[in-house]
């Protein structure tokens, strides 16, 4: 029996650990470092209908125990992602979760319909939470009605289960979670980055060319954990948790708070081998805590 096996809508994961979208490209860079088949899944970089060149530089800035980024969803566009990236990923025994973004509902629907047909794409992650683009992205993720309608529209065309990636930049994340569940979402991924900024103290100018950026890294873990804990109480669809995960204890905390699997983002930049390391450490951690399987651990904080 595989103690790490995790079953989610559309996804039969050999372990519950996967790189988060935007922190792993389409896998090529990390494939030079380790076998991608070790991963539970891969959440590929957000894909839009057309090529996007992203925001001006500087696009990143370090902050205490974290970083800000405003990449701006740079990606080669749907056609090239299908032809080059997804085809290339077929050599690995790993499910792909395709992150889908757009300016308009039609964009999301078009990308979702087409990318969900790729043979290795086993789920979609609807990106309604990117804080770094002027149109689309977060504008779909801060209003429950709009989030629900978009989820419905994408569900109607997708060939695979649809997960919706929530933004923490809202007053009541539970309301958005319930709305996407009502819209037919098969799961939730959370959280995207927190909107933030950094100034050059000498000049007073923003360090990031986009002025603001999304905060990630260990600094946001307490916020993410609280939100996963809250949302787990309010919805019955599964959650893939993320936000500052960089150690095996972080993985345990997110699973305990109610996430069924976890994604690792910024930590890949600090230690590019972090995902396989966490996967390797997980069985021993389960032993230490006295749990037989990962599934036994999921949601334990709610059962105390």
């Amino acid at each position: 029996m595989n103690r790490l096996a995790t079953l989610l809508p559309g996804l039969s994961l050999k372990n519950p650990i996967m790189p988060a979208s935007g922190c792993f490209g389409f896998g090529k860079e990390y494939a030079k470092l380790y076998d991608l088949s070790k991963l539970g899944a891969i959440m590929i970089k957000a894909t839009t209908l057309e090529t996007r060149l992203g925001n001006p530089t500087p696009r990143v800035a370090e902050t205490p125990a974290g970083m800000l980024n405003a990449i701006g969803l740079q990606n080669p566009g749907l056609k090239k992602v299908l032809e080059n990236e997804l085809t290339w990923l077929e050599q690995y025994d790993v499910p792909i979760i395709a992150n889908v973004a757009g300016y308009t509902t039609e964009d999301y629907v078009n990308v979702a319909e087409s990318i969900s047909k790729a043979s290795n794409v086993q789920a979609l992650e609807l990106n309604i939470s990117c804080p770094n683009v002027k149109q689309g992205g977060i504008t779909f993720g801060t209003d429950p009605y709009i989030a629900e309608e978009l989820t419905k529209a994408v569900k109607a065309v997708s060939s695979v289960p649809v997960y919706v990636k929530l933004s923490p930049n809202v007053t009541d994340i539970g309301a958005i979670a319930k709305a996407v569940e009502a819209g037919g979402a098969d799961g939730i991924t959370m959280i995207n980055t927190l909107l933030g900024m950094r100034l050059d103290t000498k000049t007073g100018r923003p360090v990031i060319a986009n002025v603001t950026g999304g905060l990630s890294g260990p600094a946001i873990k307490p916020v993410a954990l609280r939100m996963v804990y809250d949302v787990a109480k309010q919805v019955s669809i599964p959650i893939i948790g993320m936000g500052g995960i960089s150690t095996i204890d972080d993985v345990v905390d997110f699973l305990s708070a109610g996430a069924s699997a976890v994604a690792v983002g910024t930590a890949n930049f600090v230690d590019p081998f972090i995902c396989p390391k966490l996967i390797e450490q997980l069985p021993e951690k389960l032993d230490d805590l006295g749990f037989e399987t990962v599934t036994d651990l999921v949601g334990r904080s709610h059962r105390l």
Partner: protein, 258 residues
């Protein structure tokens, strides 16, 4: 191959104001094949500073499994790095990026090497390799002022060397271009690393020469995954953008839009 290794500090010393020379040892040195590549360092195992620091390789010694970096301690990360003592461990990811091609110049020919400030270090290993090949290097090295000039003697031992300081406190006064203006361009190839305006000035100065320029850009991952360090390109290549960390940091002149 890119590896991650806990490398050991062999020695560290200040060689100019806030400029440090740090030598590390480990197996990773065996993978360092080209001058102009860089390593990505963690300066602490704590969560702050969180990200790695990209630092260029200034010399490589396979026989002792040692390599040396020269860097300026200016922020919290590099200041912490400057406090490392012999025997301390440093988490190194590397070697990263594509360096200076030395096969573009032949024995007996001249190569012009132009460095600006903290862009000077990678030119040292480059110059050593060119000399080994029988190429004659000419070094033009620009610094802010006398107190931050380093490696003058080491470069002189390899070939003709001109030092320029902005304030004129050492060598000639002004920018590297003030020295180059007086030069005959009887070299085969030029190589440069330094601030982008300097690289742009060189491209303008030598439009018909073959040149290789090492760029600097704020980085995240250092391996090409995060898209932090992208630069626009010119019509000279098909790609709309390049990533400094994994496509560069060295590019042929005219490729990156400056």
């Amino acid at each position: 191959m890119i590896r991650q290794e806990q490398m050991q500090v062999v020695k560290q010393r200040a060689i100019a104001t806030n400029i440090f020379e740090l030598t590390l040892t480990g197996q990773l040195v065996l993978d360092m094949k080209q001058p102009g590549q860089f390593v990505h360092l963690r300066v602490s195992d704590q969560m702050e500073p969180l990200l790695r620091r990209p630092i260029s390789i200034s010399s490589i010694d396979e026989s002792t499994l040692e390599f040396t970096m020269i860097y300026r301690a200016e922020g919290r990360g590099t200041t912490l790095l400057s406090e490392k003592k012999p025997g301390d461990q440093v988490d190194v990811l590397g070697p990263l990026g594509n360096g200076f091609p030395i096969d573009k110049v032949e024995e007996g020919q001249k190569a012009l090497l132009v460095g600006g400030g903290i862009g000077v270090p990678p030119l040292f290993e480059l110059s050593k390799r060119l000399v080994e090949k029988g190429v004659q290097p000419i070094h033009v090295l620009g610094f802010q002022s006398e107190d931050v000039v380093f490696y003058e003697k080491q470069f002189q031992e390899l070939g003709e060397t001109y030092i320029v300081t902005v304030d004129g406190s050492h060598g000639s006064t002004g920018f590297v271009t003030n020295v180059l203006d007086k030069f005959k361009d009887d070299f085969a190839v030029y190589y440069s690393c330094g601030p982008t305006p300097m690289l742009a000035a060189l491209e303008k100065m030598y439009p018909s020469k073959e040149g290789y320029l090492s760029f600097e850009q704020r980085m995240g991952c250092g391996i090409g995954a995060c898209f932090a360090c992208v630069c626009d390109t010119t019509e000279k290549i098909e790609a709309d953008y390049v990533k400094v960390c994994s496509d560069g940091p060295v590019f042929p002149s005219g490729v990156v839009r400056v």
